[in-house]
C-alpha cells in the first residue's frame, strides 16, 4: 500500500470506452435476454476485442465458453456489462472490481426507480461498491455507445461505426436509442454516447468534464431530467460551454413549484424559469425537443465555426417568399434582397414564367437542370454580404416526369449531379450550402419516391452537405450556431 495514492483513483475512461477485455455477466443460452442480446449486438456491430461471458450455469454460447463466475475469467478485465437480477448485482459488481474492471454498465432494473425499500437499499449497495474503486453506469440503463471501439447500447447492432464530434449523455435509455438512430439517418456522427439510467455513480456532471477534455468530442448534447448537485453541475456546464457547444434538452419542466412561498420572486421562480436562466448563464444552448437537438448538432457538426447572418434561400416550394423572411428574422438571420444588377444576371438563368430573381430566388420550375442551379448559386454567392446559402429542393416532382417517361423515379432524378454541384459551389465560394429535402409524397403508392429520397439524402450527407427536412428547422439551427459563436467572440 502506498499511502500517497490518490483516493478514489482517477477514472480510467479509456478502459471504459475502449475496453480490450470485456465481460458480459448474465448471458442466457436460451432466448435473447439483455445479456445475450448485447453479446449479439457487439458481435454484429463489429466489436473486435475479447468478450468473456458469465452465467452460473456455465456451458457455451455460439461456441464461446460461458464462465461460471467473474472470478473464473483468466487475467484482468477492463469493463463489465451486467444484466443479472437486481439482487445479484452488488456482488457481481464487486467481483468485477476485484478483477480490475475500471467500470461497469448495469442494464438490470429493480433499484431506486421502484421507490421500494429493497430497491433503494440495493442501489445504495451499488454506490458502496463503486466507492471502492469501480465506476458504475446505471443501473436501469442501456449503456454506452462508442463507434470507435464498437461498444454499443442495447439494442444497437445497427448503429454506425463512424466516429464523429457529438457526445451525448442521457438518463433515458430510450432517448439514446432514438437519438443515435435518428442521428445515423441524418448524418450525425458520435464520439461517445452514455445512457446512465438511475445514475447512481457516473452521470452528467462528471461526463461533462470528461467530454470537455476528450479530443474526440466537439460538442456535448445532453438530455437532462434532473441533476444531483446543482452547484457542481452548473460549474461543469459553464467550464465546458466555454470550450465546446453544449446543447441541452431539459425534460420534465413543470410550471412553478408548489413550495409554500411568500414573495413574488419565489412564486415565479419555478423550475422552468430557473433552468432556462441557469442554462443561459452557463452559455449552454437550450432546445425544446430531441428533433431540435439533432438539427442543432447537425448544424454545429457540418458548418464551419462562425456565425451566419445573411443568407440566400433558393429553390422552390411554399416556404419561399415572405414566409421565409419572417421565419429567418425569428431566428436572427437576414435574407437580404440582391442588388438589381445581380438580380438581373440571375434572372437570365431562370425559366419563365413564375420565377423571381430577388432573394429568396424562386426558380418556380422543379425541373431546372442542376447546371443552371449551380450557376445561380455561384452568382448568388458573389453578393459579399452572403454567408450561407439554403437550397430548397423540389425533387419529389420528378415522380411525375418518371411516370410520363415510363422510367423509374431514381433514373430521372438528377440528385447525384445536384449533390456534386452543390459540393463544388460550396467549396469554391467558401459559403456553405444547406439543402432542404422535404418529401410530401410518402404514402404506399410513393415508396419509390421515399426510396429515392433516402438515396438523395445519403448522397448529400456523404458530400458533407447538411440536409434538413424543413426550412424552419434549418433556420432555427443556424440561429443556435450564431448565438454560440457571437457569445464566444463577445
Amino acid at each position: 500500500m502506498t499511502p500517497s495514492t490518490a483516493y478514489p483513483p482517477p477514472t480510467d475512461f479509456d478502459r471504459i470506452f475502449h475496453p480490450k477485455r470485456l465481460v458480459i455477466v448474465g448471458v442466457s443460452k436460451e432466448g435473447l435476454g439483455f445479456g445475450a442480446g448485447i453479446f449479439a449486438s457487439l458481435r454484429l456491430i463489429g466489436f473486435e476485442e475479447e468478450i468473456f461471458l458469465v452465467n452460473p450455469k456455465g456451458g457455451e454460447l455460439n461456441g464461446e465458453t460461458i464462465y461460471r463466475s467473474v472470478a473464473d475469467i483468466p487475467g484482468i478485465i477492463d469493463f463489465a456489462i451486467i444484466a443479472v437480477a437486481a439482487r445479484a448485482v452488488p456482488e457481481v459488481l464487486d467481483a468485477c472490481r476485484e478483477k480490475g474492471a475500471a467500470g461497469a454498465e448495469i442494464f438490470s432494473s429493480g433499484f431506486k426507480e421502484l421507490a421500494t425499500e429493497e430497491g433503494i437499499a440495493l442501489e445504495q449497495a451499488l454506490v458502496k461498491v463503486a466507492a471502492k474503486g469501480i465506476r458504475v453506469i446505471g443501473p436501469n440503463c442501456f449503456g454506452i455507445y462508442c463507434p470507435k471501439s464498437g461498444l454499443t447500447v442495447l439494442p444497437g447492432p445497427d448503429l454506425s461505426r463512424e466516429s464523429g464530434p457529438v457526445a451525448f449523455s442521457s438518463q433515458s435509455g430510450g432517448m439514446v436509442v432514438d437519438f443515435t438512430n435518428a442521428g445515423k439517418s441524418m448524418g450525425l456522427k458520435f464520439s461517445k454516447v452514455v445512457s446512465f439510467g438511475n445514475g447512481c455513480d457516473l452521470r452528467e456532471t462528471e461526463l461533462l468534464d470528461y467530454f470537455r477534455d476528450d479530443p474526440d468530442t466537439g460538442m456535448v448534447a445532453m438530455y437532462i431530467e434532473g441533476v444531483h448537485d446543482g452547484d457542481a453541475f452548473f460549474k461543469a456546464l459553464k467550464r465546458t460551454a466555454a470550450e465546446k457547444p453544449v446543447i441541452v434538452n431539459k425534460g420534465g419542466l413543470s410550471v412553478a413549484g408548489s413550495r409554500a412561498v411568500q414573495s413574488h420572486t419565489a412564486s415565479m421562480g419555478g423550475s422552468r424559469e430557473i433552468w432556462q436562466s441557469i442554462l443561459r448563464q452557463a452559455k449552454a444552448i437550450q432546445v425544446g425537443d430531441m428533433a431540435e437537438m439533432a438539427q442543432t448538432c447537425l448544424a454545429f457538426s457540418l458548418l464551419p465555426r462562425r456565425a451566419y447572418h445573411n443568407i440566400t434561400v433558393l429553390g422552390g416550394g411554399g416556404a419561399l417568399g415572405v414566409a421565409a423572411a419572417d421565419m429567418a428574422e425569428t431566428y436572427g438571420v437576414q435574407i437580404p434582397a440582391f442588388a438589381k444588377a445581380l438580380a438581373d444576371r440571375i434572372d437570365e438563368h431562370l425559366p419563365r414564367p413564375g420565377s423571381s430573381p430577388g432573394n429568396p430566388v424562386d426558380v418556380a420550375n422543379p425541373f431546372v437542370p442542376p447546371k443552371t442551379l449551380k450557376e445561380i448559386m455561384r452568382l448568388a454567392a458573389t453578393d459579399e454580404r452572403i454567408d450561407l446559402q439554403i437550397f430548397t429542393s423540389l425533387i419529389h416532382h420528378y415522380k411525375n416526369m418518371a411516370m410520363m417517361m415510363g422510367k423509374t423515379v431514381k433514373e430521372v432524378t438528377p440528385y447525384l449531379e445536384l449533390a456534386d454541384d452543390i459540393k463544388e459551389v460550396a467549396a469554391e465560394t467558401g459559403k456553405p450550402i444547406i439543402v432542404i429535402l422535404s418529401n410530401p409524397k410518402n404514402g404506399l403508392d410513393h415508396l419509390d419516391v421515399v426510396d429515392m429520397f433516402a438515396d438523395a439524402r445519403q448522397a448529400f450527407i456523404e458530400r458533407g452537405i447538411p440536409v434538413f427536412s424543413d426550412l424552419r428547422d434549418a433556420l432555427r439551427a443556424i440561429g443556435h450556431v450564431n448565438k454560440y459563436y457571437e457569445r464566444k467572440s463577445s
Binding site: G269, S277, Q281
Partner: protein, 228 residues
C-alpha cells in the same frame, strides 16, 4: 457595504421569532448592501411626525409598517402624494387606526416619481441555490411574468445579460422622453442582492417591487425580506 448592520437587523428579527422583516427593516438591510432605497423615517408616535415630514419633504408617501403586515395597499394602509402637514396628520391617524394595534409605526417616505417600474428579488432554488430575479415590475410582474434569473454569485456581464433576457428590455432604453436607465446601477443592485443572499443564509426570499426608475436612477420603493 455594512454586512454587520444587515446581520444585526436579521438577528433581532429572528430573536423575536419573526419570519419577515418590516419594510423599514428590509430597506435598512438592502441599504447596508449599497442597494438604493427610498429615504424614509419610521414614526411611532404622532409628536415625532412633524420632524419627519420636514426631513423627507413633500410630496411624500405614508405607509403602515410592521412585520406582520403584508398587502399594505389592500388593507388601505398606504397614502401617496401627501402634500401638507394637515393631510399627513389625518393620514397618520387613519393608518394607525387601520393597523388595529398590531404594533409598528408609520413610514414617512419620499415619493419617487417615474413611470417605469421594475422588479428584483431573490429565491433559493432547491437545486441551484440563491437565484436573483429581474423583470418588469408593478402590476406587470404577475401578469406578464417577463422575468429572468441568475444564480449567485455573478458578475456585471451576467447582470447585463440578465436584463437583456426579458422581452420588455427596451423599457430600459431612452423612451418617450425618459432617459436610458442607468444599467450599471441596476447591475450593481442585482449583484448585491446576490452577495447579500450568499452572506446571510437566514434570508429565504427577497422582493424589491417596485424598483422605480427615477429618471435614469433605480430606487427600491417597496421591499420584502422573508427569513428561513
Amino acid at each position: 457595504m455594512n454586512k454587520e448592520q444587515a446581520r444585526q437587523i436579521i438577528q433581532a428579527a429572528k430573536q423575536e421569532g419573526r419570519k419577515t422583516l418590516s419594510e423599514y427593516e428590509a430597506k435598512q438591510v438592502l441599504a447596508a448592501y449599497d442597494i438604493p432605497v427610498t429615504r424614509e423615517i419610521l414614526v411611532d408616535e404622532r409628536p415625532a411626525l412633524a420632524d419627519a415630514l420636514g426631513k423627507i419633504g413633500y410630496p411624500l408617501v405614508m405607509k403602515g409598517c410592521a412585520a406582520e403586515i403584508a398587502h399594505k395597499t389592500e388593507k388601505n394602509l398606504v397614502r401617496v402624494d401627501v402634500r401638507s402637514e394637515a393631510e399627513a396628520g389625518t393620514a397618520f391617524d387613519e393608518i394607525k387606526a387601520g393597523m388595529n394595534g398590531s404594533g409598528g409605526g408609520v413610514l414617512v417616505q419620499e415619493m419617487i416619481s417615474g413611470r417605469r417600474e421594475l422588479v428584483m428579488g431573490l429565491t433559493r432554488d432547491p437545486q441551484f441555490g440563491a437565484c436573483v430575479m429581474f423583470g418588469l415590475g408593478g402590476i406587470f410582474t404577475e401578469v406578464l411574468k417577463d422575468i429572468s434569473f441568475r444564480k449567485a454569485p455573478f458578475d456585471r456581464q451576467d447582470a447585463l445579460e440578465m436584463m437583456n433576457d426579458i422581452k420588455g428590455r427596451k423599457i430600459l432604453d431612452a423612451v418617450r422622453g425618459m432617459p436610458a436607465a442607468d444599467t450599471d446601477a441596476l447591475a450593481a443592485m442585482l449583484i448585491n442582492i446576490g452577495r447579500l443572499s450568499l452572506d446571510i443564509d437566514d434570508i429565504a426570499e427577497i422582493d424589491l417591487n417596485p424598483v422605480i426608475l427615477s429618471g435614469a436612477k433605480p430606487v427600491a420603493v417597496d421591499a420584502l425580506i422573508v427569513l428561513k
